[in-house]
Symmetry: C2
Subunit: 495 residues, 2 copies
């Protein structure tokens, strides 16, 4: 089967032949089901060296066709070793990429139908299901009606938070420039904290803001690295004195380094005073707000202009799906709409439909709503809440174990399902601790048994344990802590 | 099964339970195989009315779980009627969204592994396969080595051409502003033709260019709507006289309205003289350049800075996948890189790996390379060429039929697999012809038997017949022409 010289599969006569599609589809489903079954046998962090794959692949594309069996064999032999297993139960790095059966099935349907839903007519179901599901999810998050289609707002599914931030930033920029003149773009200022995701600064750069005019307002450990309204206010006032124009604030609910929660309501109060657009980035933590006990994290969202979360992080929706709600869709549409003749159609001209191409950076768009719809229906809000809660409980368990070992410290109080900690034996100074923790993390990750990732906060090297992979159970969290302790023992004995 | 009150599926205990995944996966594969089998039974353009779906769905997300059988039933009953069937053999609108078994299987694997390949370490295979496949495809397109990793360049897989254009535009902008000062952003000019895709103007707007400084250089029917170097030159010289700074040219190989081909080499010659970045947009036609007889369409690409095509249009790769090659990856990296502590890792710090997050607008990215790799291997370059050629042949057949009916005219000579035509009986003036063609197109599309889409060129309403859906065979093209003639007869008899 390895030779490709004279293999001539039926498929090329019709690359969508239903029976060949069925045959291969069942094969891949079984492959993936087996993968989930065996996932713990793989090192969670890939252990390959740079350039490993090039060596194993031909230098040119094949001239003739090859059978699926050969390709699958290569996937097992050459691709799987180079995978960092985000679906592994001992993946605790970054934030989770929580796949699920329902999310996967939704993506399969979307990929199989393969529609390009740029406007309503290009597949009315894609647009209408998206609007409906965004309202459903918004209701479960208790977003004020102004963010929903049943109010005057609405939601859209994008690929990533980066796109949500860029889209809202461009809308905010244009709203301001329409007031003060387009030549003033160099005066506009974007605000976040020193914990804000790098996506905001990057988006501001892309959107033509002067790189000098991004403010990463300082936070501190005493406030658990949340952005303080007073600090924002001072920064804004200083900019005003320098003739600059406040334009956009990104407040974060659950920062990447430490899951810090910026006080949304109080920050909106400051920002609104100065005419800024406020976006709430709930990429990770937003999903948890479907649980009544966590909803207070976004209290004050009613005063913001937009809110987003990544359903592909912690809502069982396979990559990619960022949910963005805005109070004023027209502000997006004014900045992002296009109307070329080759897309003209009676439905769009009636103005009675949503054309999502005008709510986003790109034209083509996938039918992402199927995924979130299937997740909501297959599990139900009740189970989804319990699922998120189970991760929070496991993180609590992990935190308790860390607390009991006096060689370690919890760096900031845990929010939700992420624990930020470090090895900090008595008498070890910060610079030595940093080196020690980097060594610890490298050695743990190289073991292939668990994968955690680092962050630097105020010069401290911290280890992040983010619980949220779909397959993670309490036993995995306990195992992770045991692995950490083993490696810490080895490092401290060497020390 | 319709009740959701007490259904408690096994899945919620583990949303990635391998056996439940297997069960549902096989079910969805069979659903899609049957869909392809029966696809001609559906009206190709959805015939629903705005708001049809809202009426059929509950107003709130379900509190309890629902079985997959119920959900699939709803998909058949409520979603499928709202689908415009891009995979139908009688879909001739826009450009094709050519799915395939191989493309679908690649997407399934990507979705199942569900890795977030922002940097090398997050899944080395995702990055390395992408680099390899981009070199493979670049070689088949006979791109000069400067665009390949084996040279000094390289390729990246993005979601859409919109992203490719935005990324290169930001790189071009910054390259220029670094020379002349960031405060000169309002002086930069972006060039295309009046046939250039709306994505370019939108990207320029997003990237903070002054909307006044986008030039849609006029084209004409006598040159088949291709951008003339002399016209570009005059426009550039005029801008220079007005103190503006030429920055970026997008030349198109296969425009959306008429598949016009801009003369790449001669345009690069003009643009380079004035220090512009030249991007070649081959979203549709680029794929055909793997056939030696069509490669001349991009002659001159060696003088451009970047080139892109959508593998999801006409390369059997299910949505989404835009392939972008650049000569100078560092120009992208300088504009788009980020380096937050939470992504630090030894591999990235070694500078010996590609971190694709720095080549694109977004951070998170899907493992798209699997799709293109599986398409190239499953079909082989030889069959892929023949497949593209078969669409061109079918378009020729369609064109010949149109030519034989004297009531119709071919508006521009056909390039590749798209025919631009209109009903234009002797003695009918242009304005009447426009109304007549709009009526004809509406009536054809409302029949549900074929779907074509319009464009306006120089005030002419034209009908576009884009052959390229994977399932299309000659019989469908002949049927499409028969449907057109029937409806034309009816309209002309009424007239």
């Amino acid at each position: 089967m390895g030779s490709n010289s004279d293999y001539n599969p039926f498929t090329m006569n019709n690359p969508l032949n239903p029976e060949e599609f069925r045959r291969q589809g069942h094969m891949i489903i079984d492959f993936l089901a087996d993968y989930y079954h065996n996932i713990q046998n793989y090192p969670v962090l890939s252990q390959v060296e740079p350039g490993y794959l090039k060596k194993n692949l031909p230098s040119f594309a094949p001239f003739g066709p090859e059978p699926i069996e050969t390709i699958l064999q290569d996937i097992k032999q050459h691709i799987i070793p180079g995978i960092t297993h985000w679906q592994s139960p001992t993946f605790f790095a970054f934030f989770p990429s929580s796949g699920s059966t329902a999310g996967f099935m939704g993506e399969m349907l979307s990929t199989g139908l393969n529609v390009v839903g740029f406007n309503w007519l290009s597949s009315p179901a894609a647009t209408e299901l998206e609007s409906t599901v965004m309202d459903w999810l918004g209701q479960e998050l208790k977003l004020p009606k102004e963010f929903l289609f049943t109010g005057q707002g609405g939601g859209v599914m994008l690929g990533t938070t980066c796109e949500a931030i860029l889209a809202t930033l461009v809308a905010a920029r244009d709203r301001k420039l329409n007031l003060i003149g387009r030549d003033k773009i160099g005066k506009l200022v974007v605000y976040g904290s020193d914990q804000t995701h790098c996506a905001v600064q990057k988006a501001a750069h892309i959107a033509g803001f002067d790189p000098k005019n991004f403010r990463a307002v300082k936070t501190s450990r005493s406030n658990s690295y949340s952005l303080q309204p007073q600090s924002l206010l001072k920064t804004v006032q200083n900019d005003l004195r320098n003739g600059l124009v406040p334009c956009f604030l990104c407040a974060t609910v659950g920062t990447t380094s430490t899951t810090a929660v910026d006080p949304v309501g109080a920050l909106c109060h400051v920002a609104k005073e100065y005419g800024m657009w406020v976006h709430i980035d709930g990429a990770y933590a937003g999903s948890a707000c479907i649980c009544p006990e966590f909803r207070s994290l976004i209290d004050g969202v009613e005063d913001a202009d937009s809110f987003s979360l990544n359903a592909h992080k912690w809502f069982l929706t396979n990559l990619d799906c960022c949910c963005l709600w805005v109070k004023d869709p027209n502000s997006l549409i004014r900045s992002l709409s296009t109307n070329p003749s080759y897309l003209h159609n009676n439905a769009s001209e009636s103005k009675g439909v949503v054309d999502y191409k005008d709510w986003q950076i790109t034209l083509s768009r996938r039918f992402r709503a199927l995924k979130v719809w299937m997740v909501l229906r297959s599990y139900g809000v009740s189970n989804l809440r319990n699922f998120l809660r189970s991760h929070v409980e496991m993180a609590k368990t992990f935190e308790e174990m860390v607390k009991k070992d006096k060689r370690f410290e919890i760096v900031v109080p845990r929010n939700l399902a992420m624990v930020c900690f470090r090895l900090k034996p008595l008498g070890v100074v910060d610079s030595d601790a940093n080196e020690m923790n980097k060594k610890l993390l490298d050695s743990v990750n190289e073991s292939g048994r668990v994968y955690m990732s680092p962050a630097m906060v105020e010069g401290m090297f911290v280890i992040r344990c983010a619980v949220g992979a779909t397959l993670t159970q309490e036993e995995h969290v306990i195992m992770a802590w045991n692995v950490l302790q083993e490696h810490a023992n080895a490092i401290l004995n060497d020390h």
